[in-house]
Assembly symmetry: C2
Homo-oligomer: 203 residues x 2
Amino acid sequence: MAYRIITISRQFGSAGRTIGRMLAAELGIKCYDREIIEEVAQRSGLAKEYIESRGEYSVQGTFGAVLNRGYYGGLTNEDRIWQIQCDIIRELAEEESCVIVGRCSDYLLKDRPDVLRVFVHAPIEWRAKRIVNVYGETEEEPEKRLKEKDKHRAAYYNIYTDMKFGDARNYDLCLNSASLGIDSCVSIIRQLVKQSGETEEQG
Amino acid sequence: MAYRIITISRQFGSAGRTIGRMLAAELGIKCYDREIIEEVAQRSGLAKEYIESRGEYSVQGTFGAVLNRGYYGGLTNEDRIWQIQCDIIRELAEEESCVIVGRCSDYLLKDRPDVLRVFVHAPIEWRAKRIVNVYGETEEEPEKRLKEKDKHRAAYYNIYTDMKFGDARNYDLCLNSASLGIDSCVSIIRQLVKQSGETEEQG
């Protein structure tokens, strides 16, 4: 079956988002990343900055929910964000061919045969250099920033999806952007997508 | 740098060995898999069947060694097999361009920049069908056989390498042979190898 949707999960600083944007441009389709946050903001009434800080890094969600639900009987903001994100990603996949970066989209769309699930990673030393180049210096050491981000992103993923972040078996394709190079990563994915379309036409 | 060596780690039944053989044939290089067992047999004096049963599935090695070493002061057979395998794989990588299937070769050669480390995996249902086709029926259910093999191979890898089997971050490239197809897997790897050679020529 032809791949209509490409989900890109990634380690922070691994160029996963860049790869997603380049790929989408080459395929002539949209790439969704921060756009999802804007849509969550619209639907929830929550501030974008708040959603961003809670979106992929907070592990308050389920923990908070478990602790609070019995008492307040409601959903935490993190769980609301999660539910709205789920709706948006599933709607996107129904509506159009696109690239979706992060937000556990690989998990949410895992039962669709028209989804190519990609994971992009790179060694911490490579990512440390890259985040300084792309995002600039901060007071905190880049490797320390990365370790924090890695820990939170993995915890978020593990809690919401019940799968292990970074396990190859969750994906169709995992790419080490440092060793393969960003252009090569884009080209491998593009070729798989193109080829899947051709196979379908022939079939 | 041009990739001279391609290591293929794989889940049992995922067609990793087939991919390795096809790739080697297309690249005109040798593929080492069972050949390594024969060489271990020659160097150790141990029987091939014994080496095969202990080679990638036994977790007696380090446990056994920890328990026995103090007492007998020697190496277990599993540890001897491991050491000889390490020597053979490192020698191979020095001597010739080749594909090496399994045997923690990704770990043993991880510091060489001319090594492309690939992991091949597939969902258990797909592998179950495949092993019945390739190896025939046995008394034991195919999924049960696979679960045993998976468990032992992962334990062997985790113990000897101190890394987590199946974690994408140990590899340059991870491929789901069931969703991408065996031919596609071969073609992605072949292209990466060819491309790395061309880049080096231009560089």
